[in-house]
Structure formats: C-alpha cells, structure tokens
Amino acid sequence: MNRQLARWAFCAILVAGLPGVGVLGSAALADEAPPVKLNSTADHSKFKELQKKLESGPDVTRACLSCHTEAAKQVHRTKHWKWEFLNPQNNQKLGKQHVLNNFCISISQNYPFCTGCHVGYGWKDKNFDFTVEENVDCLACHDTTGNYKKPAGLAGHPAYKPIESPPGSGKILQPPDLTKIAQKVGKTTRDTCGSCHFYGGGGDGVKHGDLDSSMAAPDKELDVHMDATGLDFTCGTCHSTSSHDVPGSRYKPTAIDKHDAHIRGKVGQGNPATCQACHGNTPHKEHPRLNAHAEKIACQTCHVPTFARGGVATKMSWDWSTAGRKGPDGKHMTKKDAKGHVIYDTRKGDFVLGENVKPEYRWFNGDITYTLLGDKVEKSDIATPINRIAGSPADGRSMIWPMKIMRGVQPFDPVNKTLVMPHTAGNDDIGYWKNLEWEKAIADGMKNMDAPFSGKVDFIKTEMYWPITHMVAPKENAVACAECHTADSRLKGISGIYMPSHSNKGWLDLLGWLAAAATLAGVLVHGAIRIVMSRRK
C-alpha cells in the first residue's frame, strides 16, 4: 500500500516536474522577451484552409479568397494587375502592356518571361483572362519567408517541380513549399516589393538605379528611412496602400507637392509617397535659406547625392546595335569588366554600367509623354526620347529633379519610322536571344501587337528618363552647397536660375575689376609722384 503510494507520488512528481522544466524554459523566454511578432491578429498557420496541401498558385489564392473575399477584385483594378495605366492628361495608354523602353524593349511576345513579375498566374500570351480571380498571385506580395520565387518563363507561376533556372545555368531551382509559405503570409516588405522592383530591366539594379537588392536591408548611409537597423521603413510606409492600389506611380509622378504634411482625416491631400507628405514644405528648421531652395529644387536633388550607392551597379546605356557578335568558338559570348559586370552579351549588345552615379538634373513638372508604338521617330544624332519629360523654370509647377537618363541604341523600322517590339526571350526558333535574327524576331513581336512592320531594321539612339527618389542619404551626406554653387556646377546648363558663384555675368565682373584696377593704378601713380617730388626737395 505504502509502496504503491510512493510509486504514485514519484510519478506525480515526474508528471508535474518534467513539463515544468519545459514550461520554465518557455517562461524564461517569455519573461525576457517582448511578445514575438504580435503585429497581426491572425496566425495564418492556424487556419484550416491553409492546413492542406496547396499544390499550385491558384490553389493558394482560392484558399486566400475563401476569407478575403474581395481581395482579388481589388487587385483586378490596379496597375499591378492590368499592367495598364491611362494617363488622364494626354490619354496615353501606358503600363507595361503598352510602353517600350530601351532595356529589354517590351513585353510583346515575351509574356511568359516578363510576367514572372506579374501579380498573377498564367499570363503567357495576349489572350490572358484578366477577370479570373484565382489567377491573382497573393504570395508575390505577401510572402514573408523570402522563399517564394517566380522564375522567368513560367508566366508568373512558381516552379511546381525542380527546374533549371536560369536555363542552361546548371542551377536547379526547387519548388517552394506553397503550404508553408501560405501559412506565413504577412504584410508586404522591402523584400516582396523588391523581388520585382529591384530587378527591373532583367537583373539586379539594372533599371532604376535607386532600387536594387542592396535596399532589402540597407544601412543608414544608403537610405535613412529604410535603414534596417534604424527606421526600417518598408516600401508601404510611404507608398501607403489601401484597397491594394499602391500610390506613387512613375507613370504620373508628383513633381511638385505644395501640400503640407499629411494629417489624418484631412481629405484631398494627394500622393502620400512624396517627401512633403511627411516633411511638409519647410522642413529645414534651422536653415530657412534651404527652404527657399526647396521652392525650386526637389528634395531628392540635394538628398540623393548619387544613386546605385549600395554596391550594385545600374545600367546607364545599352547598345542593341552591336548584338549578334559571336565568340571565336562560334558560340554566344559575354565580356566582363574588371568588377565582373557583364559589358557585352552576344544576345544583347554593349552595356555601360555605373555605381555611385551623380544624377543629371532637369526641370520637371510631372508631365510625361511616351513615344509609343506607332509614333513617328526620326533617326538623327539627337536621341529619340522614349519618355519626354516636361518642365520649365517659368511654368510655376516645375522643380529641378535628379534623373537617371538611360541611353540606348535600339532597333526601329526605318521605313515606317516607328520603334519596334522584338520577340527576344523564349526557347523557340524566332526569339532573338536564341536565333540572333532581328527581322524574324521583330516581325513576330509586331504581329502580336497588330502593328505594321516593313521588314527593314535599323538602329536609333534613344533616351529614357528615370526620376531618382530613393536612396535618401543622411543629411550630412546631402549634396553640399559648393557642388552646385561653383563654375563646374552639378546644375550646369539648367536654365532660369541664378546661382551665386555659378551664373556670373562676365562683362560686369570685367567692368568692376577694371574700375578697381584703374583706381588702384591711379592712386599708385599719384603716390609715386608724391614720393619722387618730396625726394627732390
């Protein structure tokens, strides 16, 4: 009896004690720590909708939509979904569906590659159905694991089986665990936005110059706001989004923002992504003179001293006309510079890359006119603008903005005098990157757009404007006065401004110094005569 009691007592101690160790362990953690990641009221891993095997992207979306019933409809209305934007000012139909650029030129006939960055599944040709809700890709923006990848060529789908990516690289990409990823969804981060926007133009940092993978976890020197050890802004902190519609588009930028800092509840405050939306128009409390500067100069002009500062180079020019040269072995080749950047690729031509690039500066009022397919272009020494920016010192709504000006030489149709959209990517017998035949590639791309093509190919100089706005440096590193207020000014050539130390009138200086010199000579002669005369006495 006693023995049995003792046995029970022993067991009771064990039962009570052993988990006690575990509980203690966790209690010790909990005591020390502020609660982990309580930035959401929902732990998605606890939802039974997400506790089954999710086989495909649309599978995941169906699960999401079973609770977030309106989300896909919201996404359907956005630029991110339609890749289309109607500029209300000039009725130009823009967006990736319609524009050309001087990087990879256009998405026409390259859909499955380009749409690896579409917030959807299955946009493999122009017949994509934009009304299907389950084709919205929730994970592209809401993945928190960093493991959700949409390789080029799969029309926006992640890999569902191991694939070689990029093709021919020998690197095998394993399919991501969609269930696990779906269970961990959260708000957008620099990583999710960056998974496309850092890699625009086909590679890290290629397109923007102020957005590249170094901005995923930047330090303060690279970006004061997104500083991962400091303010740690996400993209959405400024591009504050509601109803899935992200504000602050480059297609219609806010070049001048006369609003005060935004106040909750006030309506009609405009673009939330401008500097002024938080800082107002007179942010320099101790230096009112700088506020005066801010009447004509965009904040970014001084506060983004250089772009591509994070160690990732950006493309500054791209010459398609030299593409097609093969190596001595008759195969495609690439040439690299001392830093290992590709500067020539048989499929693409010559590149110039830049790091720590000083922007160029232009008057800019936010109006942009694109040269679209079908618009007449004339070959000359002056580059054809892919996007023409408007602005002048006199229109009362322009500011001096920093720009990355991407310069290119790209194929065009010399008979119809239009830019062209070639079919480049793709493992077929048309795509330029595989076959290196412009005529065929362009004919295919143009046919897809129902655009005329003469069959003749020539090359034309183009340029494209990219307003610079990210990579805001700490104030100590802002552009110093003397970088503009000097003969060799950063703002050299900008009309309509008077800058002491830069914009002097030569003739005034000449007259002034002549007057001073004549006076000096006069008094010296006068004095000399006085001395000579007094010596004579």
Binding site: R7, G20, G22, L29, G146
Partner: protein, 130 residues
C-alpha cells in the same frame, strides 16, 4: 504495470511541454539577416578580412557549426557574440547591436539560425555577400 503506464504518461506530457516551449519561437530570418550582416559580417570584414557568406556552408554544416558553438577555431563561442552582454559592449558603435539590445539571446540565436539555414548553399534562397 501501473507504474510503467504512469511513467509513460508522465514522459509524454513532459515531452509535450518541452516541444511546446521549443515551438514557442520561430526564428525571424530578417532580423537574423540584419544582425548577421551588421555584426558578424562587418566585424569579420574589418577584423579578419574574410566574411563568410551563408551560402558557403550547407544547412547541415551551419547546423553543426551552431551546435558546436565554437568561434575562432574554439577560442571562444558563437553564442558569446550573440549575447546581450556582447551587444551591450558594442552598441555604441553598432546600430544593429543597439536595435536588438533587448532581444533575448535565444531568440536572436534562432533568428540567425533561420537566416543562415535559408541562405545556405542548399537552403531555400542561397545568399551570397552583397
């Protein structure tokens, strides 16, 4: 017989308790990334001239390395460089250490582990030094 059954029950409950506490924290690879880069990488770069990228080891190698807890060939420990004391000692010059000054050691350890596991040679997203 009863004893054995009771003991089994006790052990099961105990295990449940232990596994529950281990599950309570799920490493945050983004925090791990910041600490790894700003503390580990920056010190390795300035002190020894060689910073390890996560993709220089496999998941198993990282797990073994963190398990062994031997830093500088066993001269000291890895955990020591993740500890609150260490963070307090460098937080004047190191913003990541300052930011994570109050993060429990175990959490930060799990964060870093999550980052190197994810970024390992055979991890979900191999990460080089950038």
């Amino acid at each position: 017989m009863t004893f054995a059954r009771t003991l089994t029950a006790a052990a099961a409950l105990a295990l449940l308790g232990v596994s529950f506490s281990a599950q309570a924290y799920d490493g945050d690879w983004k925090r791990g990334r910041v600490y790894y880069r700003s503390v580990c990488t920056s010190c390795h770069t300035s002190q020894s001239g060689h910073a390890f990228a996560p993709n220089e080891k496999t998941k198993a190698e990282w797990a073994a390395y963190l398990q062994a807890d031997k830093h500088a060939k066993g001269k000291d420990t890895v955990k020591q460089y993740i500890s609150k004391q260490y963070r307090a000692s460098i937080k004047a010059q190191n913003k990541a250490a300052e930011k994570f000054a109050d993060t429990p050691d175990q959490e930060l350890f799990e964060d870093i582990k999550a980052f190197v596991t994810k970024g390992a040679k055979d991890g979900d997203s191999p990460a080089g030094c950038s």
